[in-house]
Amino acid sequence: MSDTSVASPSSTRTAKRTDEPVLSVRDLVVQYRTGSGTTVDAVNSVSFDLYPNQALALVGESGCGKTTLGLGLLRLLPRLGHIPSGSITYRRQPGATPIDVLKLNSRQLRRWRWAEAAMVFQGAQSAFNPVITIGDQMADTLKAHVREGERYNKKEGIQRAGDMLKRVRLDPSRVLGSYPHELSGGMRQRTLIAMSLLLDPRFLVLDEPTTALDILTQRGIVDLLAELREERGFAMIFISHDLALAAELADRVATMYAGQIIERGSLHDIFYEPRHPYTSGLINAVPPVVGDLPELASIPGSPPSLANLPVGCSFAPRCSYATPECRAAEPPEETIEARDQGQSHEVRCIHWREVHHERKVIARA
């Protein structure tokens, strides 16, 4: 009965956006201090808008700044990281007063997190306190977010936690009294999702939420996320190195490389007509399981060190399209015509017209 919910055509969400974004990021820079007293830009001048109910996938190799960007959006950066410039604006709903996230003080920030924005981490094991039961941890979250002048009602809290667990298809009587280690990986991840949605946040950052899970468990989580998004209308930023998962869950995709978003566009534009050689390379590196055997190609070399970025386009040393021009100056972001009507498609590559994406199928056996 719910078998079409996942396969719902994305065209319903690709209408021209006139509403206001839930999250608006402009020229965001995240720096880390290094041992030698210098700084590196882990995220470099990133801009994007996230609209209500939209799912944006951030893809790229490890070390490209995806996780740092995710942490930066919620201001959860480790001590050595900070945001020297840029802006993050949040709006609970269109028309609501915008909140400048970078100006929130620590008290406001604590209230903002969970209630407005939440993060689901990769290792659900380490996201929980190992010596407190799931029920108590969920209650703590609710308690910390009781509105001014109201009192926390324990019974109501347990009820709410239980309802949310039921929603992610877990048995509250089994889970609430359990310690994190007593749950399987898939159950823990579901619990974490339940907890992140407890206060009905408007956007969710999910950092590789299915990486350590088995294929069928992963499928269950992916289906659940699609379902919950449909039902509750939150927006999400989905961080993954697996492009196949992005294809499954996202309606917009942003490719990151060396701290920058080098291409962003609608799901179909990115997967069927990528214009950055790096995006095209990433897609061609993923083996499909249906159909004949395609010719896969890895991207030669490895990502550059952020402390020592090449001059010009940082992908140029690994790029087959690179020319002396690429090595001379950083390519500007260009807006190009999108396949999907009303969607924008931006790319940072001066050779985007030449990038011709195709998958070669080789006949073997």
Partner: protein, 344 residues
């Protein structure tokens, strides 16, 4: 290349592994049969806890089976004298999942690679060992070797470490490599390069592979010219040539796994069934296995009787075996009496 003739490198016959625990026996592997020849690939796929790593550990001689026989070149490895066993240990090498844990952090790449060469007398002196280590680095595409030999694991990326782990496995000229999820921790962009490199070893050095993965897309890509065995709760439920298992799966579990794999194609991937088409996503406990076919509580093709009779892995075509009452019967009757009308 090998004098083995028809004898496969590795043959597992009716292999069982039951772990004894305080809470009762855990039948991790039951009645597993397969073989790998020189230059051949056998992929073992399945979810965690299905017994694929336990099977691999038994194949690698790291674990003694509680039943059945693991034979190398026709000889049971646990009946070998020490000389034969050393030869087997040299010829069958293991590449682990996590290159962060499998390399000694205080040994340089050169030390890691030269130690086995010197120990087994394959190099006469340090200089010769160094030369051979450099050659191994070239084999696994760590070029130029001089740039890597003096490095320590922490100075290498995950992909480079895994290449060092493969180079180490190659030091003793193995005939069979057991790769246990060897590419699953690597980034997508690096994974393909790694698989291509392993494929080259198979083609050029005629090395056989027992390739363990939970990712069917990887099994398909690496094992296309070989065979794939799908395991569920300690048993092989389907085995056959990879293209057939992947493109024409017969066991409902194989079908569910294939249905659960996301595709790098937005339109295609959204046609997949929720939950892989299964009735339940719960994996049963190995201590309390369901009766009859252990897959029946999750199986979409469940029929009366499936929960009573254990299906046997039976041949349904050339080189193809499936353990399922429903699809097994259908495909068999198809070949027996082509006139009969088929359900589904």
């Amino acid at each position: 290349m090998l004098e083995s003739g028809d004898t496969p490198l590795l043959r597992m016959t009716h292999v069982d592994q039951t772990f004894k625990t305080k809470k009762g026996d855990v039948p991790a592997v039951q009645d597993v049969n397969f073989e790998v020849g020189p230059g051949q690939v056998l992929c073992l796929v399945g979810e965690s806890g299905c017994g694929k790593t336990t099977s691999a550990r038994m194949a690698g001689g790291l674990l003694k089976p509680t039943g059945g026989e693991v034979a190398y070149l026709g000889k049971n490895i646990w009946d070998m004298d020490s000389k034969e066993f050393i030869d087997y240990r040299r010829s069958v090498q293991y590449v682990h999942q996590d290159p962060y844990a499998s390399l000694n952090p205080i040994r340089s790449v050169a030390a890691t690679l030269t130690a086995p060469l010197l120990k087994h007398g394959l190099a006469k002196n340090r200089h010769e060992a160094w030369e051979q280590a450099a050659e191994l680095c070239r084999r696994v595409d760590l070029t130029p070797p001089e740039a890597y030999l003096s490095k320590f694991p922490h100075q290498l990326s995950g992909g480079q470490r895994q290449r060092v782990a493969v180079a180490r496995a190659l030091t003793l000229n193995p005939k069979l490599i057991i790769a246990d999820e060897s590419t699953s921790m690597l980034d997508v962009s690096i994974r393909v390069g790694m698989l291509k490199m392993l494929g080259k070893l198979r083609d050029e050095l005629n090395v056989g592979f027992l390739f363990i993965t939970h990712d069917l897309a990887i099994a398909k890509y690496f094992g296309w010219s070989g065979k794939t065995a799908v395991m569920y709760l300690g048993k092989v439920v389907e085995i056959g040539p990879t293209p057939e298992v992947i493109n024409n799966p017969q066991h409902p579990y194989t079908r569910a796994l294939l249905n659960a794999v996301p595709e790098p194609d937005p339109d295609l991937t959204r046609t997949k069934l929720p939950n892989g088409g299964l009735r339940s996503s719960e994996i049963p406990n190995l201590r309390e296995l369901p009766t009859g076919c252990t897959f029946h509580p999750r199986c979409p093709l469940f029929e009366a009787g499936c929960d009573k009779v254990v299906p046997i892995l039976a041949e349904i075509g050339p080189n193809r075996e499936v353990a399922c009452h429903v699809t097994g019967r259908d495909t068999r009757s198809q070949t027996d009496s082509p006139t009969r009308e088929l359900a589904g």
